[in-house]
């Protein structure tokens, strides 16, 4: 294999007809280039969508109450019910594999009247009552101060964390925020921190929220032990989709709801949505490989074709070599190596060119700022290795028929050929 004479011969043969070799090589070059570009584009799209999901815990579902639609145990339908704080403990005790169970309450928001006052300034914001764990389910950057902690929950402190947009509308630019007070629906809260959500997903109100301790919120805004909705995250490796039914059954039992009442509890399963996207990219990658390999195939056929012609042209030479005592396997190996060499060299050129192209696209993307849904197209080393394996295999395939036809001709006939 690593034989100087064999290699010098391969080079000699392939350089005899430069232009033809170049044209043949272009077929393979083009095929692998298309494959790389398709894979990189798919990856870019995937990265873009994944960036939209951001660092949100994707193994999460959100769950809220809706009207009851079935009469059960003497209770009428079309009644309303609420999750209770006690439900949280019940979920923890009865369902395995959970990471976070965060009960949440909310007031105000996009339709509400002005609800927050500071001095002469007023504003309309969404107010949340939350547990400290929510920051791990819906990540945000704390830009100053701190987030709510468990002492706040236990002591029902009237403290709040505000978004950067809240700060903008209630404070002057240079004003100190931490330690100051704002009035939410007539109750004073001390600001303990500010946040900024880096992953807004196009939501312009993302920086306009105010977070308060769940217990404080319930007491101050008279929610008793009601829970507005819950964000539940399962541990990694246990899809929330698999255990959500357990939670629903448990809650229906606790709230005396017909087990088959499918509408009483509404939910949004982020994991399922996310899996769907992941599956989509699996399909996309498959299509990229499929199309890429098909384009590559036409290049391979080109190589095979040229090798057949080369063998035909060299029939006499092969006859001479066999008369001089070269074994058929040695001849076969020679043809196969020529074919593999040609395929790999042109394929490598395709990979390198593709890499430069992707680098260029990345450069342009960086210069012109982010494009929606398309981030950092790339191919990883694994793909390159796969491409190389494809190339070697296809080089073998391309050389196989010509190599066989080379040794099928008997030496005496080969010698007679002109």
């Amino acid at each position: 294999m690593f034989n100087r004479d064999r290699w010098s011969e391969i080079i000699q043969v392939l350089t005899t007809n430069w232009f033809r070799t170049l044209l043949t090589a272009f077929g393979v070059f083009w095929g692998i280039l298309i494959l790389i570009i398709l894979l990189a584009a798919g990856k870019g799209l995937e990265n873009g969508i994944r960036a939209d999901f951001g660092d949100i815990a994707t193994n999460t579902m959100f769950m809220w109450t809706q009207g009851v639609t079935k009469a059960y145990k003497g209770l009428p339908k079309e009644r309303n019910f609420n999750f209770k704080v006690e439900d949280v403990d019940a979920i923890w005790q009865n369902v395995d594999g959970l990471r976070f169970v965060s009960p949440r309450n909310q007031s105000g928001g996009f339709r509400g009247a002005s609800n927050v006052v500071r001095g002469l300034k007023t504003g309309t914001f969404s107010i949340y009552g939350d547990y400290p764990e929510i920051i791990k389910q819906q990540p945000m950057d704390i830009t100053s101060g701190r987030f709510i902690n468990h002492s706040d929950i236990q002591e029902k402190r009237k403290v709040a964390v505000i978004g950067t947009d809240v700060r903008k509308s209630l404070y002057e630019k240079e004003e100190e925020v931490l330690g100051s007070f704002i009035k939410i629906s007539g109750v004073n809260f001390m600001i303990i921190g500010t946040y900024n959500k880096s992953n807004t997903d196009g939501d312009s109100d993302a920086q306009k929220d105010i977070y308060t301790p769940f217990t404080t919120f319930s007491q101050v805004f008279n929610r008793a032990n009601n829970v507005g909705w819950m964000a539940i995250t399962a541990v990694d490796g246990t899809p929330i989709t698999n255990i959500k039914e357990q939670i629903f059954t448990l809650l229906k039992e606790r709230h005396t709801i017909h087990p088959e009442d499918l509408r009483a509890i509404g939910h949004f399963d982020l994991f399922e949505e996310f899996s769907r996207v992941v599956r989509l990219f699996g399909a996309l990658e498959f299509i990229a490989y499929f199309v890429g390999v098909l384009v590559l195939l036409s290049g391979i056929i080109g190589v095979s074709n040229i090798m057949l012609i080369v063998v035909k042209e060299r029939t006499k030479e092969i006859g001479i070599r066999r008369a001089l005592g070269e074994g058929p396997w040695s001849i076969k190996k020679q043809i196969l190596m020529e074919s593999i060499f040609l395929t790999i060299i042109s394929g490598m050129a395709g990979i390198v060119f593709g890499a430069f192209l992707i680098y260029g696209v990345n450069y342009v993307l960086e210069m012109n700022g982010p494009v929606d849904m398309f981030v950092n197209p790339n191919v990883n080393l694994g793909v390159v290795v796969i491409a190389l394996i494809i190339l070697i295999v296809s080089g073998l395939l391309a050389g196989f028929i010509p190599a066989n036809s080379a040794i099928r001709v008997r030496p005496i006939e080969a010698l007679r050929a002109e």
Binding site: R4, D5, Q12, V13, T16, K316, E317, G319, I320, R321, R322, A323, L324, G325, E326, G327, P328, W329, S330, I407, R410, P411, I412, L415
Partner: protein
């Protein structure tokens, strides 16, 4: 050295079968220089091809240097050709993209001789045929006589038991022919066994023995007084 008994060979030509060799009995001692003569179609080339293991006989025995040549697969035949035989063809059959030296070194390559040793040997044999300073030239840069001398050097490089020459002078003018025959005679003087297929009387008489073939049988087999080619050069 060569022992042939009752050799038959026929070719299928469509529905007809052409019986080319009809029972050849023939033997060659070591160190002989034999001319095989005959008109075209007499079967002399077929005989040479069978002797050269390029073609297989239909029936009959063939023993080369004590080794029975029978039922060879291609790999085995290639090994035997490389070990036992050197070929010289009418049309030289040099590989046109390899230099004279590379051409001569080729049989040694198939014997897996190391690169350096191969080059040394190739140069030695090129020197013997008087073409050392042409070692790096391509065949296209050589004259017909020079090409044939390179081919002879190539055939000798593997130090074969028998040298088979198929019309070695067929494509050369008479002066060059004599030069080539002079070379062949000198190689024979060193004790090498050589078979020459030819249809030229004067070339045949430069050998030590002439075998006449006609219609697939040997009609005459005689020792002759060798005419030295040296005097015509």
């Amino acid at each position: 050295m060569i022992e042939i008994k009752n050799l038959h060979k026929s070719y299928k030509m469509g529905s007809n079968s052409l019986h080319v060799l009809k029972g050849i009995d023939f033997s060659v001692e070591e160190g002989e220089l034999v001319a095989i003569m005959g008109s075209s179609g007499s079967g002399k080339s077929t005989l040479l091809n069978i002797l050269g293991m390029l073609d297989a006989a239909d029936s009959g025995e063939y023993v080369l240097d004590g080794v029975p040549i029978k039922d060879l697969n291609e790999t085995k035949a290639a090994q035997y050709r490389n070990k036992f035989l050197g070929f010289v063809f009418q049309s030289f059959n040099l590989i046109n993209y390899k230099s004279a030296m590379e051409n001569v070194a080729l049989p040694l390559y198939y014997q897996r001789v190391g690169r350096k040793e191969r080059q040394d040997k190739a140069l030695k044999y090129l020197d013997q045929v008087g073409l050392k300073e042409w070692a790096t030239h391509l065949p296209s840069e050589l004259s017909g006589g020079q090409k044939q001398r390179v081919a002879i050097a190539r055939a000798m490089a593997a130090e074969p038991k028998v040298l088979l020459a198929d019309e070695p002078t067929g494509a050369l003018d008479s002066k060059t022919s004599y030069e080539v025959m002079d070379l062949i005679q000198k190689i024979n003087d060193d004790g090498n066994t050589i078979l020459v297929v030819t249809h030229e009387e004067d070339i045949a008489h430069m050998c030590k023995r002439i075998v006449h073939l006609k219609d697939g049988v040997i009609v005459e087999d005689k020792k002759v007084k060798q005419v030295r080619a040296q005097q015509y050069v």
